[in-house]
């Protein structure tokens, strides 16, 4: 029963945050230098047209009124109109979302097993050559620009060896897997190092714990001790970090989609920035924030289920 109360409290905590992100995304568009209406109608429109459009979009209202209208529209699922595509932004996002989601899940599927494998290998051979190799490559991994890695891998595996397509999204499920392999891999190479470092040091910390000595003196086999006790206790901090990383991952897909021309949300965001399609930029920013909150929330809830001691 208490668990539900904790989760409920956590949900209540979200309300001010949701309010805050809506305010930030609203203010984003207010920051645009110049008149947004001019952008909408083009430079050659007459003053009367400008005034009419201004009134139609409620842009002649006081700022607070405008914000409330914006909030009201959001509640009805109306994210605004795209100037370039002449479509509701919500529709555009829904069109692009599956591709970005596919990419993100793909990245996660590569990231989790390799993180666990590398961290365990490094921790079990602490101080030996293999540990040094893994920790050193981790330092490198963090400093590599994703877009550069993407281009270089496209050149090597796509052009030189011809193993993978270097752009696009594919048509079938396996087509997607094939097309998105390099984008997913380059994003994963950037995520794995942080997680490996974290998990490795968590494991090393747990290895020193008293319960391990107790288990060992009780005669538990080392393998059992490691996988059933140490590893279980090391997962928590990495799980929390993983939540943060997934949020960062969505930011990462923006660049990766651009490099590999994957027609996803990030690609839409970039092209909208250049097309000065501000409502799309605004909506995508808001959307990414909502996704991030949801992921963090999910991770928090999973944490309480795994470890009842966790307080949110």
């Amino acid at each position: 029963m208490q668990r539900y109360q904790v989760i409920l409290q956590r949900l209540l905590h979200l309300l001010p945050v949701l309010f805050g992100i809506s305010l930030v995304s609203f203010l984003l568009v207010q920051l645009i230098p110049g008149d947004p209406v001019r952008l909408l109608v083009g430079p050659r429109a007459t003053e009367e047209v400008v005034a009419a459009v201004r009134e139609r979009y409620g842009l002649d209202q006081p700022l607070l009124q405008q914000y409330l209208t914006y909030l009201g529209n959001l509640f009805q699922g109306d994210l605004g109109q795209s100037i370039v595509y002449r479509k509701p932004v919500g529709e555009l996002i829904m069109e692009r979302l599956p591709r970005t989601l596919f990419l993100a899940i793909y990245v996660i599927c590569i990231t989790i097993p390799s993180t666990i494998f590398l961290a365990i290998t490094a921790a079990r051979h602490q101080g030996r050559k293999i540990d040094h190799i893994i920790t050193t490559s981790a330092v490198f991994g963090i400093t590599i620009p994703v877009f550069w890695l993407g281009i270089m891998m496209a050149r090597l595996f796509g052009v030189e060896f011809g193993w993978f397509p270097v752009s696009g999204y594919g048509n079938t499920f396996f087509g997607h897997l094939h097309h998105l392999f390099l984008p997913a891999l380059s994003t994963a190479i950037w995520m794995v190092p942080v997680l490996v470092r974290n998990l490795r040091s968590a494991i090393l910390e747990q290895m020193e714990a008293d319960y391990v000595v107790a288990g060992r003196s009780k005669g538990l086999p080392e393998q059992y001790l490691f996988y059933y006790h140490i590893l279980k206790n090391s997962i928590m901090p990495t799980l929390n970090l993983f939540g943060v990383m997934v949020a960062v991952l969505f930011g990462g897909t923006v660049i990766v989609e651009k490099v590999y021309a994957v027609p996803g949300l990030g690609d839409l965001m970039i092209s909208s920035i250049f097309g000065r399609d501000y409502f799309v930029v605004q909506a995508i920013t808001l959307f990414f924030a909502v996704v991030t909150i949801t992921v963090t929330l999910a991770v928090d809830i999973i944490s309480t289920i795994i470890d009842p001691r966790v307080k949110l």
């Binding site: 001010p16 945050v17 805050g20 992100i21 305010l23 930030v24 984003l28 568009v29 920051l31 645009i32 230098p33 330092v139 490198f140 963090i142 400093t143 590599i144 620009p145 994703v146 877009f147 550069w148 890695l149 281009i151 270089m152 496209a154 050149r155 052009v159 949020a247 960062v248 969505f250 930011g251 990462g252 923006v254 660049i255 651009k258 490099v259 965001m269 970039i270 920035i273 250049f274 501000y278 930029v281 605004q282 995508i284 920013t285 990414f288 924030a289 991030t292 909150i293």
Partner: protein
């Protein structure tokens, strides 16, 4: 304190960083004065004795450009980190030490800011302000200070109950004096370590924006911009992209290693 007592990572990292700094500062002496000099007789040349890193589609020397770009990218590291660090430290110190309204506001602002993926928010701010280095710095400072404030606040909460703070209070020092003179120096270490990781991130973001065409504007040499320039030619001329990328990695590595080394030296959990 002799050099021998310092962690190897710190020394190596500082070495890499100093090397870049010297090369960047002396670039006119090393490489001639014009990184944008065109040479239509040497288009897309492979690395050779005249052009150690090759040339690009306009015949510009890649090595010269990589070195000149170092100035901008190192500058990005500093100018991207420092404002966020200073603003964040001030807010975090006030929030942690005095609590009250400042703390309440800071916590709410933090909750909202971390709700956005960092890069997406920076990108959105640059999108509305317009492309360019100054707007990038504004965006990074506007979003980045929050992490510093949060970190400092957490440290201050621990330190403010220390005996020396109590002693200073009993001696009747002004609260602001205590906060800046006694508390601040004792919470700075983790911030410095974090700033090194942050510098790597900022440089990567700056280069990413340059790559997307929203940061430093061509023809100015910047590593991200150079990689974007080379992308259409990557099939026949891989060197245009390869070297600026390697440069980014080495500079990032320098900051990373300094951060790791400092953390080890100051016994901070990273």
């Amino acid at each position: 304190m002799s050099l021998r007592n310092l962690p190897t990572t710190l020394i190596v990292g500082a070495g890499i960083f100093l090397m870049w700094l010297v090369v960047a500062l002396c670039s006119p002496l090393l490489m001639g004065t014009d990184p944008n000099a065109l040479n239509f007789e040497a288009l897309l040349q492979r690395p050779n004795i005249n052009h150690l890193f090759g040339t690009d589609h306009l015949g510009r020397d890649i090595l010269t450009r990589v070195i000149y770009a170092g100035r901008i990218d190192i500058w990005m590291g500093f100018a991207g980190v420092l404002p966020a660090l200073i603003i964040g430290t001030l807010f975090g110190l006030m929030a942690g030490y005095f609590g009250g309204v400042v703390e309440a506001v800071l916590m709410r602002v933090t909750d909202v800011t971390v709700a956005f993926p960092f890069f997406v928010l920076v990108l959105a701010i640059v999108a509305v302000l317009g492309p360019g280095l100054t707007n990038f710095f504004i965006a990074i400072a506007a979003v980045g200070w929050v992490s510093y404030a949060r970190l400092i606040r957490a440290e201050v909460l621990v330190v403010k109950n220390a005996e020396y703070v109590l002693a200073a209070k009993i001696l009747g020092y002004h609260p602001l004096f205590i906060a800046f003179r006694h508390v601040l120096p004792n919470v700075l270490a983790p911030i410095i370590v974090y700033a090194m990781t942050d510098a790597v991130l900022v440089i990567l973001f700056g280069a990413s924006l340059g790559f997307l065409g929203l940061g430093v504007q061509p023809p100015t040499a910047e590593w991200g911009v150079m990689i974007a320039n080379g992308q259409p030619y990557v099939t026949e001329a891989w060197w245009i992209c390869l070297f600026p990328g390697l440069a980014t990695v080495t500079l990032g590595l320098g900051f990373s290693l300094i951060g790791d080394g400092l953390a080890k030296h100051l016994r901070i959990k990273n």
